[in-house]
């Protein structure tokens, strides 16, 4: 007997615009749920989004007292906070996106929702936390009475580029983690290593000249250097340093989205 291949059922909304509206409201609802889950029972609540980079900055400033850490003429707290805020965005996207599928297993198992909303809601949370981290950054600028100009606005596209690059990396990890969670176990180590292998405590200029080409393959080098030159040096970011970042967004992002789309149909079979 001849059997026809099944068509993927599309039980949800018909029109593309309704679909978009539904997805947007769903992403928002899930992000709100997860943010609340994190912060509602914390005494400091959402203030933690501000406290986290601030505490990092304080630790790094203490380190500065022990060893020689250049900061290209800017006050070191301001220098390190800019880097830490951007790095924490990267970390938060990685750590928020990778478990987002498993965290929502209950919904995936039972509801025919579009699957991409789960990692996207993680991304939304990370971006909103980054927005909160801009408050202490502004406070530091005011405190040190540091001159900034319109170049500071580059922080917005740089944050979005960072998030996109992190998402391109996190999505395949999230997909694979449904089946085998080795990568998720390795992730904390990789992120800690990244903290020291990226120009956060120190500028790129303090990396020895002959290693710099290899060092710059790290896709976080471009955003970190760019953010600081825009904010602290009032200069156009060095877009050449962004080549690994853009390459990742251009290649890994579409690929991982495609794989996610193919594999996510079977998620319900695994929970």
């Amino acid at each position: 007997m001849e059997r026809q291949r099944a068509k993927t059922p599309a039980p949800m909304p018909k029109s593309a615009s309704a679909d978009f509206g539904y997805m947007a409201s769903l992403i928002f609802a899930l992000a709100k749920r997860d943010l609340t889950a994190q912060y509602r029972d914390a005494a400091f609540g959402i203030v933690w989004a501000i406290l986290k980079p601030t505490l990092f900055m304080m630790v790094f400033s203490l380190l500065k007292g022990i060893m020689r850490l250049p900061s290209e003429g800017a006050p070191y707290p301001l220098f390190s906070f800019t880097g830490v805020a951007l790095w924490l965005l990267f970390v938060s996207v990685m750590q928020g996106t990778t478990p987002s599928i498993i965290r929502n297993a209950g919904i995936i198992r039972k509801m025919p929702t579009p699957r991409i909303v789960f990692p996207l809601s993680g991304l939304t949370i990370s971006l909103s936390e980054f927005a909160f981290a801009m408050i202490p950054l502004a406070a530091l600028v005011v405190y040190f009475d540091y001159p900034v100009d319109w170049h500071a606005l580059y922080l917005i596209p740089i944050a979005l580029i960072t998030a996109a690059a992190a998402f391109a990396l996190a999505l395949p990890i999230a997909t694979i983690s449904v089946f085998k969670n080795d990568l998720m176990l390795a992730l904390p180590f990789l992120l800690q290593a990244g903290l020291f292998l990226s120009p956060i405590l120190y500028p790129l200029s303090s990396v020895p000249e002959n290693y710099r080409a290899i060092y710059a393959l790290n896709p976080m080098v471009g955003p970190l250097e760019g953010a600081r030159s825009a904010l602290l040096l009032r200069q156009e970011p060095d877009w050449l340093l962004f080549i690994p970042t853009f390459a990742m967004i251009a290649v890994a992002l579409p690929l991982s989205l495609w794989v996610y789309h193919r594999v996510s149909r079977y998620f319900a079979d695994f929970f």
Binding site: A6, P11, Y22, V263
Partner: protein, 427 residues
């Protein structure tokens, strides 16, 4: 609104659906080798056992379809496939209209959110508009009947309470199709009754419902048509009474196999404890065999027992199970076999009959050891019961009559009049 006749196009239509769990690809060693040899479809995984096998099913608008079957028979998988959560491997399917799957109730809830906030969250997940849900919030709150728990965090709820929220959203979401999996297992009697009433209301307003339940009572009152799933296949598709009967037989056969395996241990069978039961007959008061039992008349169950020399005594037992495998009767009587070979016929006589309902019952007689632990011998028989011209809906069908008696003193007064009298009395 146009209500289409029941013969119109089915709302849910499945044709030859087969579902294997897991990704239908396998990138392990042997398949990799096949791929390197250039074979086509090398990574196609050959699964062992499908969760659904060639399922063909149509559900019409305004129908409330029951789904029954043993655990692991594929009931939830069927709902998953219909809802689109899980993709079938083979076959064609079409589902028209907006669908709300209540495959389980607590999906995606945040225990730190209050009941109200979780209702909003569930609504967002299920694409029920914000305005729709706000407009119906009062109705949902009333339906849940959680009192002030509705505005408290869900983590403070008792185990039966979160399920109410999910069900309430599902039935107030204006979906065309609602899939319900074992909701009747949660909640107290009052809530279950509200659920039942709501499901009837939805069905009557032209919605389509698929109800998975182990509660035969609910299935038989709610569904006119029921399917029985067994090992991923639809074994029965038809009137609910027949489905329950079929399922009962299936369960009975399964239980019988288990009893044989676990209770009758042949290792114990030495010559001295040989015991046999045979020649079961179902008789009426005049000792005539009854092909169909009338539950109001005398019922005699007669069977022959042989017990070898050495068995002092045993428990003669009789069990009657209703079509839905409910145990109606189990009686045990100690019988002394004296100390020699026993070869007699025993008779269980129910002088006033047994208040059974219409349907195929299962009758088991036999001998247990004196502690009632070991079945020495047993014999099974089906027993068709037919009540005359009336259909009982409860557990049993007792003998009763309805008389029209004499006229009462006075009549019930209309409500307005009664109120007036009450006011007068108060004033």
């Amino acid at each position: 609104m146009l209500i289409s006749p029941p013969e119109s196009n089915p709302v849910i239509s499945l044709a030859d659906i087969t579902k294997f769990y897991g990704i239908p690809y396998d990138f392990s060693g042997p398949n990799l080798l096949k791929f390197l040899q250039g074979k086509r479809g090398a990574f196609r995984r050959i699964s062992d056992r499908p969760a659904l096998k060639g399922v063909t099913l149509q559900v019409k608008k305004g129908e409330l379809l029951g789904v029954i079957g043993r655990n692991g028979a594929g009931k939830s998988t069927l709902l998953k496939v219909i809802s689109g959560v899980s993709k079938p491997n083979e076959g064609k399917m079409r589902v028209s209209g907006r669908l709300f799957p209540m495959i389980e109730l607590n999906a995606g809830m945040n225990p730190r959110f209050s009941g109200r906030e979780n209702v909003q969250l569930l609504a967002a997940i299920m694409n029920v508009g914000k305005k729709t849900i706000e407009a119906r919030m009062a109705e949902i709150e009333e339906f849940c009947d959680l009192g002030d728990h509705f505005d408290r965090p869900v983590r403070t709820y008792s185990s039966g309470m979160p399920g109410r929220l999910g069900f309430a959203v599902a039935v107030h979401a204006d979906a065309d199709i609602v899939l319900i999996d074992e909701v009747l297992a949660v909640g107290d009697v009052a809530f279950r009754n509200r659920c039942t009433a709501k499901m009837e209301e939805l069905r009557d307003s032209g919605k389509t419902l698929v109800l998975v339940s182990h509660n035969m009572q609910a299935i038989s009152t709610l569904c006119s048509r029921t399917i029985v799933l067994e090992q991923g296949e639809i074994k029965f598709n038809g009137p609910t009474a027949g489905a329950i009967q079929y399922y009962g037989d299936l369960m009975a056969a399964y239980t019988a196999r288990k009893i044989q395996r676990h209770m009758r241990r042949p290792t114990q069978e030495t010559k001295s404890d040989r015991c046999e039961v045979w020649g079961l007959k179902i008789l009426n008061g005049r000792n005539e065999e009854m092909p169909v039992v009338n539950p109001r008349k005398v019922l005699r169950v007669i069977f022959s027992v042989f017990a070898a020399d050495g068995i002092e005594e045993g428990l003669a037992f009789i069990r009657i199970e209703a079509p839905d495998s409910l145990l109606l009767v189990e009686e045990r009587v100690l019988v002394s076999f004296s100390n020699e070979e026993f070869n007699r016929r025993l008779v269980f006589e129910f002088q006033r009959g047994v208040p059974m309902k219409t349907g195929r019952h299962r009758l088991t007689v036999g001998i247990l050891d004196r502690f009632g632990e070991l079945v020495l011998a047993s014999l099974e028989h089906t027993m068709d019961v037919e009540t005359e011209g009336r259909s009982a809906h409860g557990l049993i069908a007792p003998l009763f009559k309805l008389y029209v008696s004499d006229e009462p003193k006075g009549r019930p007064r209309p409500a307005a009049e009664a109120e007036k009298t009450a006011q007068e009395a108060a004033g």
